[in-house]
Amino acid sequence: MREPILSVSDLTTHFFTRAGVVKAVDGVSFDLAKGEIMGLVGESGSGKTVTGFSLLGLVDAPGRIVKGSVKLNGTELTTLSDPELRARRGHEISMIFQDPIATLNPMLTIGQQMRMAIDAHEWLSKRAADARAAELLTQVGIPSAAARLRGYPHEFSGGMRQRVAIAIALLHRPAVIVADEPTTALDVSIQAQILFQMRDLAAEMGTAMVWISHDLAVVSSLASKLAVMYAGRVVEQGPTATLLRDPRHPYTAGLISSLPAMSQPGMPLSQIPGTTPSLLSLPPGCPFAPRCDRATKACGTAPEMTMEDNRGWRCFHPVSAFKEATV
């Protein structure tokens, strides 16, 4: 395997609230090679967004990374000082959010906001900064970019605003981009456009991506590997094709069989029974056990990640498309 550009191991982020400790991210590990795209899939509340924030050191109080490591280009990020971390955010690792209406400041022009992002990392004259900004806007598919720098966010459509946000994230050609459901809030037709444009741009710039989504269908068309999160833990990870063809964790299997493409026309979509547990009061052991038809007494203790070739899963009773596995 190639030398990873981003290496995450045992990342654990907890929120210390009045009501108790919320274990939002619990022992997440993965590697990302240069230019590689990984999909981070899970239901809302599974900890995927907090994982994204943890990578950039953007977890707000009362949350805190309690253990684990995030290595970017060989540098450990979790122990960096605030200014050192800031110098890397937006420069070597950046992030795009779900709702483009909320991310851009309505009171500032696109040009002002892009120049602020440029000034944060290098000194350029206003003219040079504008040229860079316009170039990036053109790259993400915004026509007559130079003129639109003077525009305000409300003059852009939702899709266009998200393109602006993407352009800001790409300004310094970062090594890694964390994309937190950047197309979820958009129209379906625009979703696909932006999805593939980002894939192409990432490939062109050699940028690796962590693509966070609740939508397995979207991610699997984009990412070369997947990590499936449930209740703060990665329950299964591995190459996309392998996981889709041969899921081992019952939760992954459930997600795949509930994809619309997997169902027979006219038949109801298959679904996973029950709901996600509250992160405040997780059951001891495997958090998925209460919803799992394969659960046994053994599931009362938390399963470790079982590694096999380039994939892994956390389950005592893994399923298999080819043979019924037993423990």
């Binding site: 707000d60 890397r88 937006g90 959010f97 909320a102 400041n105 944060a120 409300h154 003059e155």
Partner: protein
């Protein structure tokens, strides 16, 4: 933009018209000023003469139309008590009040917004907790009481600052001002602090609440993800985003400070319009009361109108929405 201005202007005029009716009816329902203007031992003839002279024998609506007609010609009548034109009376007192109010509100706004942003940015630090404790005090403690304590401390006990009056004044454009002289300035300090304290508390709370809310938004998170320094985020993002509620309140407070000046002026014997109105209420000097209330209403409406214009200038959404 022009349509927007005209629309707001017409609204302002309508509000003024309504206010004038309310004020006039309200004030003219109060007592019978004739008992105060003329001595009780006066003959019936003198009484009736006075009533006619003051126009008090006509029906209320007629008095209103006469009053409005005169008002539009810039004539607000004569004070029953001082027997000089009300406009002259109020005009002579207004600079003192304006001076006091402007100094208070501006310093309260500048200081309050800075402290409030700090308290909202670091809500758990002890400095913020101190700031908030002070603001709770400034908010709760009645302003007349603060005035008393200021006098007790700085004027009576320490003897550092004068307890009342305007001190030396300098005439600029024919109007007397206190702030250019050192002595005048020393007279302004206590009343200005007194008047500013409530506004300061208000600004702190407002800026803190806005900061806390905005710091949690995706706009700030995205700016941080782009690697912006915290200083830049506060200066360029936060300040812009909290400006709208702050400007609104600043404007409204400008008006209410004019009203609260009534209390401060009474305590510090500051010869402004506030003291005048309290004295006038005491002796039922109707023309002065009406003129004062109409003046305050006018200032309010004007300030609101100006705030609307300022909004239209700073908020790009409004600015362009108004053009379209």
């Amino acid at each position: 933009m022009l349509g927007f201005i005209i629309q707001r202007f017409l609204q302002a005029v309508a509000v003024m018209a309504v206010m004038s009716v309310i004020v006039f009816c309200g004030v003219y329902a109060i007592g019978n000023p004739i008992d105060i203007v003329i001595p009780p031992e006066a003959t019936q003839d003198i009484r009736e003469e006075a009533i006619r002279r003051l126009g008090l024998d006509r029906p209320l609506y007629e008095q209103y139309f006469i009053f409005m007609g005169n008002l539009l010609q810039g004539d607000l009548g004569r004070s029953f008590v001082y027997n000089i034109p009300v406009l002259e009376l109020i005009g002579g007192r207004l600079p003192a009040t304006l001076e006091l109010v402007l100094i208070s509100v501006i310093s309260a706004a500048v200081l309050g917004v800075s402290l409030g942003i700090y308290a909202g940015y670091r809500p758990d630090s002890w400095v913020s907790k101190t700031i908030m404790a002070i603001s709770v005090l400034g908010f709760s403690v009645p302003s007349f009481w603060v005035g008393l304590i200021l006098i007790l401390f700085f004027a009576v006990n320490l003897g550092w600052l004068p307890a009342g009056g305007r001190g030396e004044t300098v005439e600029i454009w024919g109007v007397a001002w206190s702030f250019p002289t050192l002595n005048g300035l020393s007279h302004i300090v206590l009343p200005a602090v007194n008047l500013a304290l409530f506004k300061l508390a208000m600004m702190i709370r407002l800026a803190r609440a806005g900061t806390r809310e905005i710091m949690l938004t995706d706009t700030i998170k995205f700016a941080r993800a782009a690697g912006l320094a915290e200083g830049t985020i506060l200066r360029r993002h936060l300040l812009k985003l909290i400006s709208i509620p702050i400007i609104t309140v600043f404007g409204l407070e400008l008006g209410s400070t004019l009203a609260f000046a009534v209390v401060t002026e009474t305590i510090f014997s500051w010869p402004g319009v506030g003291k005048l109105i309290i004295d006038s209420i005491g002796v039922l000097d109707r023309p002065v009361m009406v003129a004062y209330l109409i003046l305050v209403a006018f200032l309010f409406v004007t300030i609101n109108f100006v705030i609307d214009l300022v909004f239209a200038m700073i908020d790009p959404r409004l600015r362009q929405g108004a053009t379209a």
